[in-house]
C-alpha cells in the first residue's frame, strides 16, 4: 500500500484544454483532476470524444498548439509542473521518464528504419549511461517476449505482425526505463487473443520494473484485473473515479453504469445488449 502522505508521481489538477478554430472553440478537457502514486495503475475510461486521449497527450505536451490551448491547470510530475517547463527541459521527461504506447503500432513505428535503429535512437536520446545499446535493446526485446530478438532487431516494421509491432513499441518505451508508461488504447487494433497477451505483458513489466501505468481505454472489460484505480470521463469531465473493485461492484454515476452494462459478456447469448441513453444523461448532467 503506497503511503498516502508521500508526494504522488503524477498530479493533474483542474486541467482544462480547448481547441480553437476560426468558427468555434471546443472545450475537450474540462476541469480534470486525478493523481497517481509511483508504481500504480490507473485506467481512464471513456468513449471517443470524451477527452481521455487529449488528457493523456497533454502530460507529455504532445498536443499541437494551435489548435490546442491549455486554459488552466497543472500537470505536476515528480514535483515539477510540466506545463510550464521550457521545451529542452521537457524532453528529459517526454519519452524518457514518461513513455507512450499508442493504439496503432503500424503508424507509430517508422516504416523505413529497422527495429534496431529505432530502438537505438530512443536510447541515444534518453539513455546516455548505456555503453552497449545493442545489448540493452536485445534485452528489452527479450523482456517483451520476443523469441528471436536478433532477427527482430534486423526487421523492418512491415515484416512484423500487429502484436509483434506493439511489443516492439513497449520495448522501445522500456529501454528508457520510464517512471510512467502511458498506454493509449494499446490493444484496440489487435485481436482479442493478442490483446490478452499484451495486457499480461504490461502487468508483468509493471511489477518487474515498478513503473506506473496509465491505461486509456473505451472498454470497461479491460479494467478489471489490470488497474488499481479508474477515472471515468464523459464529454471532457470526470464523472466518477475510485478504486477499481468498488467502482465496478457499485458504480454510482449513471454514465459509468451504462458504460459497464454495454460490454458483451460470455454466456448470455442472444440477449439484447444494453446501450447508452445519451438524451437521459444530458438531462441528468445539465443543471436545471
Amino acid at each position: 500500500m503506497p503511503d498516502p502522505n508521500a508526494t504522488p508521481l503524477l498530479e493533474v489538477s483542474d486541467l482544462s484544454i480547448e481547441f480553437e478554430s476560426a468558427e468555434r472553440t471546443v472545450v475537450a478537457v474540462d476541469g480534470v483532476s486525478f493523481s497517481m502514486a509511483a508504481g500504480s495503475t490507473l485506467a481512464v475510461v471513456g468513449e471517443s470524444g470524451s477527452g481521455k486521449s487529449v488528457t493523456a497527450l497533454s502530460l507529455g505536451r504532445l498536443l499541437p498548439s494551435p489548435p490546442a490551448r491549455i486554459r488552466s491547470g497543472r500537470v505536476v510530475f515528480e514535483g515539477i509542473d510540466l506545463l510550464t517547463l521550457p521545451e529542452p527541459a521537457l524532453r528529459h521527461y517526454r519519452g524518457g521518464k514518461i513513455a507512450y504506447v499508442f493504439q496503432e503500432p503500424s503508424t507509430s513505428l517508422n516504416p523505413v528504419f529497422s527495429v534496431g535503429f529505432q530502438l537505438s535512437e530512443a536510447m541515444a536520446l534518453h539513455r546516455h549511461d548505456l555503453a552497449d545499446r545493442r545489448g540493452a535493446g536485445l534485452a528489452a526485446l527479450t523482456e517483451v517476449g520476443i523469441r528471436d530478438p536478433e532477427r527482430c532487431w534486423r526487421s523492418y516494421p512491415h515484416e512484423l505482425s500487429g502484436g509483434m509491432q506493439q511489443r516492439v513499441m513497449i520495448a522501445m518505451a522500456l529501454v528508457c526505463r520510464p517512471r510512467l508508461l502511458v498506454a493509449d488504447e494499446p490493444t484496440t487494433a489487435l485481436d482479442v487473443t493478442i490483446q490478452a497477451q499484451i495486457l499480461g505483458l504490461l502487468r508483468e513489466i509493471r511489477s518487474r520494473f515498478g513503473m506506473a501505468i496509465l491505461l486509456i481505454t473505451h472498454n470497461f472489460g479491460l479494467v478489471k484485473g489490470f488497474a488499481d484505480h479508474v477515472v471515468v470521463m464523459f464529454r471532457g469531465k470526470i464523472v466518477e473515479q475510485g478504486p477499481t473493485d468498488s467502482l465496478l461492484a457499485s458504480p454510482r454515476h449513471p454514465y459509468t453504469q451504462a458504460l459497464i452494462a454495454c460490454v458483451p459478456r460470455l454466456g448470455d447469448s442472444k440477449k439484447r445488449l444494453a446501450t447508452i441513453d445519451y438524451a437521459r444523461l444530458d438531462s441528468l448532467l445539465t443543471p436545471s
Partner: protein, 260 residues
C-alpha cells in the same frame, strides 16, 4: 437451406515464376464446410490469419474458390463469373470492418445508397431512388436529411449504419458481416449489434457474422464455427460452446475474452 459450403479451399499464388505460372501458393482456407439457414446467424470466429475473411469473400464471390462447392438455394455459384453472378449479388451482400475505408469519400450518402438501387432496380426513377434511400436511412436509425451529406460528416458508428443501409438497399437475404464492430467503441458496438438483430427480426435476414471476439460472436449467433489455420476446429451452438468447449483452441479463445 439458404447457403451450403462444402470442402471450400482457397489458394493464392505466391509471386515468382517469371515465364511460367507460379507453382507456389498459400492456402488460407483448407477445406471448410458449413450451412446457413434462412433468417439465422452463423458466427465465424478466429484470429488474424485464420482464414475467416477469406471465407467471407469467397461466399460473396469477391474471390473464386480453388475447389469445393458453394450452393445458394441449391444452385452452384462457386463457378459463376461476370454477368452470371449478377442475380446472386442481389441476394448476398457484405458489410466491412472499417467504416472509414468502405465508403467513397467523394460520394454523397444519396449516391452511395443510390448506386446499388440503380444497378439492381433499373426501373426506378431518380425520385423513387431518393425516397428509397431516405427509407433505408430511417431503417438504420439515421435522420433522412443525411442524404446530401458526405461520409466524413459522420462518426464511425454512423458510417457503419450507412454501410448497413447500402447492403440493405438491394433487399438481400444473406449479409456477410466481416468484423462489423471491431473498429468501434464498446458503447457503439452494442448499438450496431442490436441494430443487426432488429433488422434480422424485421426482414428475416441471414448473417454470416465474422469476428475475432468470441463474446460478440456468441451474442449474435445461432451456431458458432471456430476457425484455426484455415480449418473449422469446432462447431456448436453458442451456449454449448461456452459451457463445454471441446477443442483446446476454443478454450484459448474463451480465456482471452476480458471478464467483468
Amino acid at each position: 437451406m439458404l447457403l451450403e459450403v462444402a470442402n471450400l479451399v482457397v489458394r493464392y499464388p505466391l509471386p515468382g515464376g517469371l515465364f511460367f505460372r507460379s507453382r507456389r501458393f498459400v492456402e488460407p482456407v483448407k477445406g471448410v464446410s458449413f450451412r446457413i439457414r434462412a433468417g439465422r446467424t452463423v458466427g465465424l470466429v478466429g484470429e488474424s490469419g485464420s482464414g475467416k475473411t477469406t471465407i467471407g469473400k469467397a461466399v460473396v464471390r469477391l474471390i473464386a474458390p480453388h475447389s469445393g462447392e458453394i450452393r445458394y438455394r441449391q444452385e452452384r455459384i462457386d463457378g459463376l463469373s461476370g454477368a452470371r453472378l449478377h442475380p446472386y449479388r442481389k441476394r448476398v451482400q457484405m458489410i466491412f470492418q472499417d467504416p472509414h475505408n468502405s465508403l467513397n469519400p467523394r460520394l454523397s450518402i444519396a449516391r452511395i445508397l443510390g448506386e446499388p438501387l440503380e444497378i439492381h432496380f433499373p426501373a426506378l426513377r431518380a425520385q423513387e431512388r431518393r425516397s428509397r434511400a431516405a427509407d433505408l436511412l430511417r431503417r438504420v436509425g439515421l435522420p433522412s436529411d443525411s442524404l446530401d451529406r458526405f461520409p466524413h460528416e459522420f462518426s464511425g458508428g454512423q458510417r457503419q449504419r450507412i454501410g448497413i443501409a447500402r447492403a440493405l438497399a438491394v433487399e438481400p437475404e444473406l449479409i456477410v458481416c466481416d468484423e462489423p464492430v471491431s473498429a468501434l467503441d464498446v458503447s457503439i458496438q452494442a448499438q450496431i449489434v442490436n441494430l443487426l438483430q432488429d433488422l434480422q427480426q424485421e426482414l428475416g435476414l441471414a448473417y454470416l457474422f465474422i469476428s475475432h471476439d468470441l463474446a460478440v460472436v456468441e451474442h449474435m449467433s445461432d451456431e458458432v464455427l471456430v476457425l484455426n489455420e484455415g480449418r473449422i476446429v469446432e462447431a456448436a451452438p453458442p451456449e454449448e460452446l461456452y459451457r463445454n468447449p471441446k477443442n483446446e483452441y476454443t478454450r484459448k479463445l474463451l480465456a482471452a475474452v476480458p471478464s467483468l
